[in-house]
C-alpha cells in the first residue's frame, strides 16, 4: 500500500521592531544577557503591558501580503503555563480574535531544494488558517550544575503563522518556508533567519493510504533549526510513520523532538500530557480596532517576489531562470532594476548580473549592496555593447576589471584599446588584404561554398586583433565577394 504525508506548519517569526511587544526595551539580538529588561518584560509584581503598535501593524502587513482577512477588531488573551523562561507564567497571545485569518501563499518553483526540482508541482497554493501576535519567551542556558535565563528576548514580538494541512512532502514544506521567508524579507517584517531563531517552525505531520480522505494520527515535531532541517525531520518522520503502519503498528498522537545530530525524532510528550492553557481575555489590554490605520499599512504592501518575477519575464524579457535568481534576493532584484533603468538590452543586463556579478560577489564574499560596481555603471557597460562599441565577450572582460577597480566601463575600454573598429574604410582595407592572400578560398566561395566566408571573417578578426566589428566584417566580405 502506498502512503501519502499530510503536513501543516506553525511558523513563528520574530518581528523587526525597535522595541519589545509590551514595553520600551530594545528588541535587539546579541546584547549582553539581561541588559534589555525592565519591570514589564521581567513580569515584576505590579507592572503592566502596553501594546507596541508597530508590531501589530507588521502582522497586518504580513496578512495583507498573504491575502488574509484582517480582523476589524483583534484582542489579546492570556495563555497560561509554567516554564522558567516565561516571566509571568502566562504568555500574552491572541486566541479567538487573531489579527489575520485565511489567506495563503503560492510556492515559487525556485524555492524547492535544488536536488528536488524534478518533483516540483507548479503553482501549489498553501492555505493559511490564521496569523496572530504574541510575546516571545526568555532563553534558558544550561550549565554544569545550574541553569541561567537571559530575559533579553522575553517580551519581544513574535508572529505565529498557522497553515492548513495542505503540504504533501518534505520538499514542499522546504519550498513553502523558503517562499514565505522571501515574502517576509520583502515586507521588511523580519530578518527571518532560522539559524538565529528569527524564524522557527513546528510541523504537524501524519500519513494515510493514498486515496483515503480521513487524516491519520497527527504527530507534532519540534526543534528544527534550519529549513533543510525541517525537510530532513519530515522525511525521517514520514518514513517512521509509514514503516510503523506497514508493520501493522499503531501511531499515537504525540509531540516529538528532532535531534539534528542523530538525524531522528524522539518522543517528548503524549496527548495526555498536553497543556490546558486556560485562555481568557487579557484584562490589562484593550481590544485593538484595525480600521483606523489599516489603509496606511495597505500602502506599505510591496510587490511580492512572484509578481516581480512575472514582471521581469513579461515586461523586461528576462529569462525565467534569470528572473527566478534575481527575485530570490530582494536587494539583488532592486539592484537589477536600477541597472536596467536606461538600458534597452535588459536581457544583457540580466545575464551579466546573474552570471558575472554573482560570480564575482561570491568570490569576493560580498553581498550585492557592497558591490564595487554600481548598477548604473553596469547599465553603461551594456549600453557600450548595444552601441556596437565592444563585443559581448569583451564586455565580460571589462566587467571583471570594473569589479576589481571600481572604474567606469568606457574608461577601461579606451585604455585597453578594446574599442571595436566599425570604420568601413579600415575594415575594407583589412578585408582586401585577407582576400588577396587567400585566393584558393575565394575560388571555393565563388564555386558555391558560401560557408567558407567564416574562415575569412576569422582571419580579418585576427588581423584586427579582435577589434573589428564582426558583423561589419561579415557584411563587407559578402559585398566584396558579390554574394
Amino acid at each position: 500500500m502506498n502512503y501519502e504525508a499530510v503536513i501543516g506548519l506553525e511558523v513563528h517569526v520574530q518581528l523587526r521592531t525597535r522595541t519589545k511587544m509590551f514595553c520600551g526595551c530594545e528588541n535587539e539580538f546579541g546584547a549582553a544577557p539581561n541588559t534589555r529588561t525592565c519591570p514589564v518584560c521581567l513580569g515584576l509584581p505590579g507592572a503592566l503591558p502596553t501594546p507596541n503598535h508597530a508590531a501589530i501593524h507588521l502582522v497586518a502587513l504580513t496578512g495583507l501580503m498573504l491575502g488574509c482577512e484582517i480582523a476589524p477588531r483583534c484582542k489579546f488573551d492570556r495563555k497560561s503555563y509554567f516554564y522558567p523562561d516565561m516571566p509571568k507564567n502566562y504568555q500574552i497571545s491572541q486566541y479567538d480574535l487573531p489579527t489575520c485569518r485565511g489567506g495563503g501563499l503560492e510556492i515559487m518553483r525556485e524555492s524547492y531544494p535544488k536536488d528536488a526540482q524534478k518533483k516540483v508541482v507548479a503553482g501549489r497554493y498553501i492555505r493559511l488558517v490564521r496569523i496572530h501576535l504574541e510575546e516571545d519567551v526568555a532563553k534558558s542556558f544550561h550549565f554544569e550544575t545550574a541553569s541561567g535565563i537571559d530575559f533579553n528576548r522575553a517580551g519581544t514580538p513574535l508572529m505565529e503563522i498557522v497553515t492548513m494541512p495542505d503540504l504533501r512532502s518534505p520538499e514542499e514544506a522546504f519550498a513553502f518556508l523558503s517562499t514565505l521567508k522571501l515574502v517576509l524579507l520583502y515586507g521588511g517584517v523580519s530578518d527571518a533567519d532560522m539559524e538565529k531563531g528569527q524564524l522557527r517552525c513546528d510541523c504537524n505531520v501524519s500519513v494515510r493510504p493514498v486515496g483515503q480522505e480521513e487524516l491519520g494520527t497527527k504527530v507534532e515535531i519540534k526543534n528544527m533549526n534550519s529549513i533543510s532541517g525541517v525537510r530532513r525531520a519530515l522525511a525521517y518522520e514520514i518514513e517512521r510513520q509509514t514503516e510503523m503502519l506497514r508493520g501493522g503498528g499503531r501511531l499515537t498522537q504525540e509531540t516529538r523532538r528532532w535531534d539534528e545530530a542523530a538525524g531522528a525524532t524522539f518522543a517528548m510528550r503524549g496527548k495526555e500530557m498536553a497543556h490546558d492553557y486556560r485562555y481568557f481575555p487579557e484584562p490589562d489590554l484593550l481590544p485593538v480596532d484595525t480600521a483606523a490605520w489599516l489603509d496606511d499599512v495597505r500602502r506599505r504592501v510591496p510587490e511580492l517576489p512572484l509578481a516581480r518575477k512575472r514582471r521581469f519575464v513579461e515586461m523586461l524579457k528576462v529569462s525565467d531562470s534569470n528572473a527566478g535568481v534575481l527575485v530570490a534576493d530582494c536587494a539583488l532584484a532592486d539592484w537589477f532594476e536600477k541597472a536596467v533603468k536606461d538600458v534597452t538590452n535588459t536581457q544583457g543586463v540580466a545575464n551579466l548580473v546573474v552570471n558575472d556579478l554573482l560570480r564575482e560577489l561570491g568570490a569576493a564574499g560580498k553581498g550585492v549592496t557592497e558591490s564595487p560596481v554600481a548598477p548604473e555603471a553596469l547599465g553603461a557597460l551594456v549600453a557600450l555593447t548595444d552601441a556596437g562599441r565592444i563585443s559581448s565577450s569583451q564586455a565580460k572582460e571589462v566587467f571583471v576589471e570594473m569589479f576589481r577597480t571600481g572604474r567606469a566601463a568606457a574608461e577601461i575600454v579606451t585604455e585597453r584599446g578594446l574599442e571595436q573598429v566599425s570604420d568601413a574604410g579600415a575594415i575594407g582595407k583589412l578585408c582586401d588584404e585577407v582576400l588577396e592572400g587567400n585566393a584558393p578560398i575565394v575560388v571555393q566561395i565563388r564555386a558555391g561554398n558560401a560557408k567558407a566566408v567564416g574562415n575569412l571573417v576569422g582571419q580579418v578578426m585576427k588581423l584586427s586583433k579582435g577589434k573589428a566589428n564582426p558583423a561589419m566584417v561579415n557584411a563587407v566580405l559578402h559585398r566584396k565577394l558579390g554574394l
Binding site: L44, P45, G46, L48, P51, R78, S80, P87, P283, D284
Partner: protein, 484 residues
C-alpha cells in the same frame, strides 16, 4: 489640638503657612505609631529615617504641590522603589520593588511624604485583614474586632490617627468595607480613573487604587492627586481629574438618590439599616429626592465576582514562582518541584483557595460554564447600573450588612467571609465609582461605626463628593475618633 489629629487639609494648610514643619508631622505620627502599633497591627513596616529625610527635604523647599509635606501611608501592595512590597505574603519575603507605582510618583509630585506601609489581607484576598501572614490588624474601635479588609491596615491607621490618610486598593470592597468598619471615608474610583501601574494585581479588571481618609474633603484632595491618564496603564481613562474639592460644597438640591430594593431586603443588621435610613432622611432634608429603584441581577453578583476575580488572580499570581524574586524553596530537585514547594510554602490558605478556584473555572470543559457565564452576568450587572443611572444621580446602600465582626468569627468559614462584601462587589463588576462614609454608630460591646455607601456612575466622582460633602456638613459622625 495635637498634630496627629489633623486632617490632610489641615496638615497641608499649616505646613503651607509654615506653622508646623513636615518633620514635626512625621515625628508626631511616628510617635503615635510607636505607641499604638504593638496592639493595633495596622502597619507592616516603616522606615522612620527615610520618612524624616523626605519630610526635611519638603521643609527645605517651597511648596511643590497641594499635599506638600503631608505624610501618607500606603497599602503594602503598591510599588515604591527600594521599599519592601510584601503584600503580607511569605512568597514576597525580601522582595523590594525596583520602581515606583504611578500613584507613588503622583503623590510625590503633589508634595506628599511617604510614611509607611499598611497591613492587608494576603494579596488583598480577604475581608478582615486576618489572612495577613504577619499579624491581623485590630479595629481601633474595638480591639476584639477586625478592621475589615483587605485594606484593613490603611483603614485602622487612618482611624487611629497614625496617618492622616492612606491609599488602599479595592477589588470587591477592599477600601469601602474597612472604611465602614473603622469609621473612615473610603473611595473606590471609577475603573480606569487611577492608574494601576505598580499595584500588585489581584484581579486586573476589578482592581482600583483609592484613598482612605478622615473626611470627604481629604479623600477628594488625594483622589485629585493620584488620578488621571497614564500611558503605562492601557486601561486608564483619558479624562484629567476635575476639581473634586469644589464639588463638596455644591449642594444636592434636586439630586435623585436611588435606593436599590435588593440591598434593603432582609439579612441586614437592623441597627445598620436604621442608620442608613436616617442618613437618607438627612439628605432628603437637604433637598435631594429619594426613589426606590431595582438592580435586578444583584443576587448573582457575589457568584460572578468569585469566578471572575479568582480566574484573573490565578494568572496574576502565577508569576510568584521563585525564579526571579521573592521566596524560593530550598534545594529543589527540578523546576517543577521548585514551583510546587515555593508556592506551597509561600502562599497562605485563602490565596491557595482562590488560585485553585480560578484555575478550575478556566479549565477546558469548565470555562464556558463558569468563566463565560460569569462574564455574561457581569454584562447584565453593568446594564442594571446603566439603567439605574438613567433615573438617579447616585445610589445609596449600606456599605456592609453588619458592623465590624470579631476576629476569628468568619476566618474558618470562607463563604460567610465572602458575603461580607455583598453590597460592595457589584460596583467593581460594573466599574462604577463608590464611596463609603460614616452615617452613625451602633452599640455592641463597644461603639462601632456604620458605613453608608454612595454609588455614582462612571466618572461620577464629583457627584459622590457633592453628596458626601453635603452629608458631612449636616452631620458630625466623621469627627468621632476611637482611642480618645
Amino acid at each position: 489640638m495635637e498634630l496627629h489629629e489633623f486632617t490632610v487639609s489641615e496638615a497641608a494648610a499649616t505646613v503651607r503657612r509654615r506653622e508646623v514643619s513636615s518633620t514635626d508631622l512625621v515625628r508626631a505620627l511616628l510617635a503615635r505609631m510607636e505607641a499604638l502599633e504593638p496592639a493595633l497591627g495596622a502597619m507592616l513596616h516603616w522606615d522612620a529615617e527615610a520618612a524624616l529625610a523626605e519630610a526635611r527635604a519638603r521643609d527645605a523647599e517651597p511648596p511643590i504641590g497641594p499635599l506638600h509635606g503631608v505624610p501618607i501611608a500606603l497599602k503594602d501592595n503598591l510599588s515604591v522603589k527600594g521599599q519592601f512590597c510584601s503584600c503580607a505574603s511569605r512568597i514576597l519575603q525580601g522582595y523590594r520593588a525596583p520602581y515606583d507605582a504611578t500613584v507613588v510618583e503622583k503623590l510625590r509630585q503633589a508634595g506628599a511624604v511617604l510614611l509607611g506601609r499598611t497591613n492587608m489581607d494576603e494579596f488583598a484576598m480577604g475581608s478582615s485583614t486576618e489572612s495577613s501572614v504577619i499579624c491581623p490588624t485590630r479595629n481601633p474601635w474595638d480591639f476584639e474586632r477586625t478592621p475589615g479588609g483587605s485594606s484593613g491596615g490603611s483603614a485602622a491607621a487612618v482611624a487611629a490617627r497614625e496617618s492622616f490618610a492612606a491609599l488602599g486598593s479595592d477589588t470587591g470592597g477592599s477600601i469601602r468595607q474597612p472604611a465602614a468598619f473603622c469609621g473612615c471615608v473610603g473611595l473606590k474610583p471609577t475603573y480606569g480613573r487611577v492608574s494601576r501601574y505598580g499595584l500588585v494585581a489581584f484581579a486586573s479588571s476589578l482592581d482600583q487604587i483609592g484613598p482612605l481618609a478622615r473626611d470627604a474633603q481629604d479623600a477628594a484632595r488625594i483622589l485629585h492627586a493620584i488620578s488621571g491618564p497614564d500611558p503605562r496603564d492601557s486601561t486608564s481613562l483619558p479624562d484629567a481629574p476635575p476639581d473634586f474639592v469644589a464639588a463638596l460644597g455644591r449642594g444636592i438640591r434636586r439630586l435623585k438618590l436611588g435606593l436599590p430594593r435588593e440591598y434593603f431586603s432582609g439579612g441586614m443588621d437592623a441597627d445598620v439599616e436604621q442608620a442608613v435610613r436616617a442618613a437618607v432622611r438627612v439628605l432628603e432634608g437637604l433637598g435631594a429626592e429619594a426613589v426606590e429603584i431595582s438592580l435586578p441581577h444583584t443576587e448573582h453578583a457575589v457568584a460572578a465576582y468569585y469566578v471572575l476575580a479568582t480566574a484573573e488572580a490565578s494568572a496574576n499570581l502565577a508569576r510568584f514562582d521563585g525564579v526571579r524574586y521573592g521566596r524560593r524553596a530550598e534545594n529543589p530537585a527540578d523546576p517543577l518541584e521548585m514551583y510546587g514547594r515555593t508556592r506551597a510554602e509561600g502562599f497562605g490558605a485563602e490565596v491557595k483557595r482562590r488560585i485553585i478556584l480560578g484555575t478550575y473555572v478556566l479549565s477546558s470543559g469548565y470555562h464556558d460554564a463558569y468563566y463565560l457565564h460569569a462574564q455574561k452576568v457581569r454584562t447584565l450587572i453593568r446594564r442594571d447600573f446603566r439603567q439605574a443611572f438613567e433615573r438617579c444621580d447616585v445610589l445609596l446602600t449600606p456599605t456592609t450588612p453588619s458592623p465590624a465582626f470579631k476576629l476569628g468569627e468568619k476566618i474558618q468559614d470562607p463563604l460567610q467571609m465572602y458575603l461580607a462584601d455583598i453590597f460592595t462587589i457589584a460596583a467593581n463588576l460594573a466599574g462604577v465609582c463608590a464611596l463609603s462614609l460614616t452615617c452613625g454608630f451602633v452599640e455592641r460591646e463597644k461603639k462601632l461605626p456604620v458605613g453608608l455607601q454612595i454609588i455614582g456612575p462612571w466618572m461620577g466622582e464629583e457627584t459622590l463628593f457633592r453628596v458626601a460633602g453635603a452629608y458631612e456638613q449636616a452631620s458630625a459622625w466623621h469627627k468621632e475618633a476611637p482611642l480618645g
